[in-house]
């Protein structure tokens, strides 16, 4: 199928189609029945239990009937401070349904879901995967009434604003410059693939998903692999709570992302590109498809791109089905292969054996966009932005207790204080940088600069893309419990420290909330977090404990009054009344 969007590449094995098929069945039928599962298993030549294993991994796939309208309300911390519980009540009242179930007429089903990438316009929910933002009780009432009247959520949904709040002065924006499709690709005419890699190396560009691995190293080692075909994968599984920069980028300049992927294809010799789009961004799929089709019609995708003989590149879209860990590159690959999204070990790197065991590059949306824009604007222009050792700009999704939540394109080197001032943060107290897996920052550290320079030497802070601001009226313990709950539910369950550890840590945090923890509990928590960090298999488990560790270290004052200081070293507090309550029911 040249010159048009492909659903699958002809050489991909059957099982790669599994996730898209499951999603389709879920979307049309409302659930995946036993019969449908059996049929898929036969079709894919898998055992039934294997397909069921895949279904049960992703939280947007159901094995019990749901309803005509499936509503997912975001339960992230930002949503919580913006009125989550009120909206939750309103939804239950208006639909006559309890969360986790559907009503008797199977019209509405309500579920919670972690961050849907709308932190700048919370509370927000997805109805049949169409976004509804800035919810309030009146709005909920109107939406539910309209749905009852038979209106189509696809028509009445909101078009989420991009909320681009800040661009660097003197027209220094990189990502939101006027964009013309193909301009960067035109520059490739006089460049060899090695040139491109050299170019990316010069730019110091590193993984914008938050891992900050030098992009050129990935590209260069992929290029040197003998095995073919190679794959270029765009990681649009923006699952880190509080992050929505990729959403805005894909909505505003999807072309620049595609172009970055095509350039990566040129640099590494890969001919196949896949965009792994998280299920929550289903509403962006149409736009992406249109852009891809436009690229095909302009000769920017397909065979002999820009007239260059042998420069072929195709892109398809892979939808996710609800799993945070699939943002981890090897879990993403597993998911694309139609399996449970369990991260692989580092025995092989994706550039050696990635998708279908072939050399694969996985980069973030922003990384690809950055490549396209820097090639288009020239390296010197690019290096002109930011600070020495950390050139360029960074997209930051800012949310929480600020006047202007939205996207801030900052030059590297801006301090946290400057950023907070721009956003209009009143009484900021607890600042979570790079999402729950990142670093918690107190206002004592407001001078720290956001950059990708050497952290030890400069005390700078890296930012994967999200800054959540909480003011002094927020309870830190509630934030920690919300984060911990998120990790506990999103852990893939494959390694012991993350699977059991997150649960254990969650219990401990609840103990602190209930005021029965002692100093030794804080120490235990700190040590147990350290064990999780050192032994977990992937980034999720290694970073899940960051918030409690940073909070204990940086906000000690906050915890002290929460502890039980009456402990005499011998007798632990024990709520006898509470623990015999269940038995008291049998008092006749």
């Amino acid at each position: 199928m040249p010159y048009s969007l492909m659903e699958f590449f002809p050489h991909e094995p059957k099982q790669s189609k599994l996730l898209n098929k499951l999603r389709e069945i879920q979307y049309t039928e409302g659930y995946i029945s036993k019969e449908a599962t059996q049929q898929l298993a036969t079709e894919m030549e898998l055992s039934l239990v294997e397909v069921e294993g895949v279904i049960s991994f992703y939280h947007f796939l159901h094995t019990k009937p749901t309803a005509k309208y499936v509503i997912y309300l975001n339960n992230s911390m930002i949503s919580e401070i913006k009125g989550y519980s009120r909206i939750r009540e309103a939804l239950e009242r208006e639909t006559g349904t309890r969360f986790g179930t559907s009503d008797r007429t199977n019209t509405f089903a309500l579920f919670e879901t972690p961050c849907i990438g709308m932190s700048d316009q919370e509370p927000a929910a997805l109805v049949n995967f169409y976004p509804f933002t800035n919810l309030n009780i009146m709005k909920v009432r109107n939406i539910i009434q309209a749905l009852k009247d038979g209106e189509d959520p696809a028509v009445m949904c909101d078009c989420p604003d991009d909320n681009i709040m800040y661009l660097p002065p003197e027209d220094k924006t990189i990502f939101f410059r006027p964009y013309t499709a193909g301009e960067a690709l035109a520059k490739l005419e006089i460049r060899t693939p090695e040139d491109v890699i050299e170019f990316v190396k010069k730019s110091n560009l590193s993984g914008r998903g938050g891992a900050f691995f030098p992009t050129w190293i990935k590209w260069d080692s992929c290029r040197k692999q003998e095995a073919t075909p190679n794959y270029i994968i765009c990681n649009a599984d923006e699952g880190e709570p509080g992050t929505f920069k990729d959403r805005v980028l894909l909505n505003r300049e999807p072309g620049s992302v595609l172009e970055g992927m095509i350039i990566a294809g040129y640099a590494t010799g890969a001919k196949f590109g896949v965009i792994y789009l998280r299920a929550e961004y289903f509403w962006l799929k149409k736009k992406l498809e249109d852009t891809i089709n436009e690229f095909y019609s302009k000769g920017l995708l397909g065979k002999n791109i820009k007239g260059k003989k042998g420069f072929d590149f195709d892109i398809r879209i892979q939808m996710g089905a609800g799993s945070y860990v699939c943002g981890e590159e090897t879990a993403l690959l597993e998911s694309m292969e139609g399996k449970r999204g369990e991260p692989r070990t580092k025995w092989y790197f994706p550039v050696e054996r990635g998708y279908l065991q072939k050399p694969t590059i996985v980069n973030n949306v922003e990384t690809f966009a950055a490549v396209a824009r820097m090639i288009e604007m020239g390296i010197n222009e690019y290096l002109n932005r930011g600070i020495p050792g950390s050139p360029g700009t960074k997209l930051i999704s800012l949310s929480g207790d600020v006047d202007n939540p939205g996207i801030y394109e900052i030059e590297w080197g801006m301090s946290i204080e400057e950023l907070l001032n721009l956003a209009g943060a009143a009484d900021p107290y607890f600042i979570q940088v790079s999402g729950p897996s990142g670093e918690s920052v107190s206002m004592h550290e407001k001078h720290r600069k956001i950059s990708m320079r050497d952290l030890m030497a400069t005390q700078d802070i890296r930012c994967g893309g999200s800054v959540m601001v909480f003011n002094k009226y927020r309870e830190i313990i509630d934030i920690l419990i919300n984060f911990s709950d998120f990790f506990m539910k999103e852990s893939c369950g494959i390694c012991t420290p993350c699977r059991a550890g997150n649960y254990i840590v969650h219990k401990k945090l609840e103990k602190i909330k209930h005021g029965i923890a002692t100093y030794s509990d804080l120490n235990d928590l700190h040590q147990w977090c350290d064990i999780m960090k050192t032994t977990s298999r992937c980034g999720l488990g290694k970073t899940a404990c960051n918030p409690p560790v940073f909070a204990i270290e940086k906000f000690r004052d906050y915890f002290e009054p929460k502890l039980d200081t009456t402990f005499d070293g011998l007798n632990h507090k024990f709520d006898l009344e509470e623990s015999v309550k269940e038995y008291e029911k049998y008092k006749s």
Binding site: L48, S56, T345, W347, I494, R499, V580
Partner: protein
Amino acid sequence: MKNTKPKEKLVSFSIDGKTCEAREGQNLVDAAMENGVFIPSLCYFKHHDPPLGTCRACTCKVNGNYLPACIQKLEEGMAIEVNTEKLKDIRHALVEMMFAEGNHFCPSCEKSGNCDLQHMGYELGVTNIRFPHLFKDRVIDYNPQRMVLENNRCIKCRRCVEEVFTDEGKRVFMYHNRGIDTLVAVDYEQEAQLTEKQAKAAMDLCPTGAIIVRGSSLVEPFGERSFDMESDQKDYNVLFPSKKEQKKMDKKTVATVSLAGCFGCHMSLLDIDEQLLDIVNVVEFNKSPLTDIKEFTKRCDIGIVEGSCCNAENIETLRKFRDNCDILVSVGECAIWGGLPAMRNTIPLGECLEEAYINVETSVKGEWVIPYHEDLPKLLDRVYSCNEIVKIDYFVPGCPPSADHLWKVIRNLLWDEGFSVLYHEFKYD
């Protein structure tokens, strides 16, 4: 298959500062073993490429980074740390975490003695578990024709998922759900395709007692199983040295109690045979079922607690022990983490009571009653370990602990007599 056909080139590397030599590209677990260093691992399989890397019990420090040994290919000049205090503690913690996560009741498990996890506990000398037990209710699947799948015991090592296939090449086991709810599910149709031999192989593959083949799990008698035999490790090296000046064996006061337990630990205490005669000379028993003294009459040097807390009276008694004893020792599994009485912890109290008093076959229809009287101790919502209620100073594991071991511990605590924990005395099945 890189780790099964390693290149023949030899490389040198170091383990804890000692220079070692092995084949390049070899798996670190094997390479260390060849050089006489044991790295504990539960999920590792020589022939599996890439290695599973799920249990993390083999975590070491490789060139300064914490990494599981089983996913390390050997390279020239690698500096590896295995037995530092921190690493030993981390590995210990991971095994503890597996015990805390599952519902492992060794005394009622068919695999006891043949269980890799139990063996690992012995090898590492796991006494008590720092983490709270999760007590999650997990599915036991009796549906397969030949097998029983006991998810309470599963450590999610992934061996069965990756290794058990039918002759047609279809998977028999697969993970379901995710996070803490992850469990192994079995495909009934495919399971029926397995030959008897393949089914037994699956049972043997399982490092714990999660996969049981009906009729063949008890063929080997307890006591003669692979890990019941002596280990290379004869003792754990002296854990409790004597003080320089050994105290005079002056007379001490001891109290004992059995809370929610079976009195087995008390029986074991009496099992010290002729040494009982020594005890009479040096120990005075105060409140204890052995003396039938009901209340404390004086302060005691040591309190020995057997059993866990399942009702309000247990809590009260335990608190009295804490108040009246200088040293409090938890003896046996029940006291340490709940043990067999804690089997009810995965099920709501109401369900337990109804099952016992209403739905039971011997109850007369319409005349059932769930006992409740102000003179009866009130049942707690779940069984609590002793150290959740009061501070416990020492833990002596075992079900029950052996008499010799118990006596050594007491002598050490009372008169600072040194002793070494011997491997064969240290069993908690």
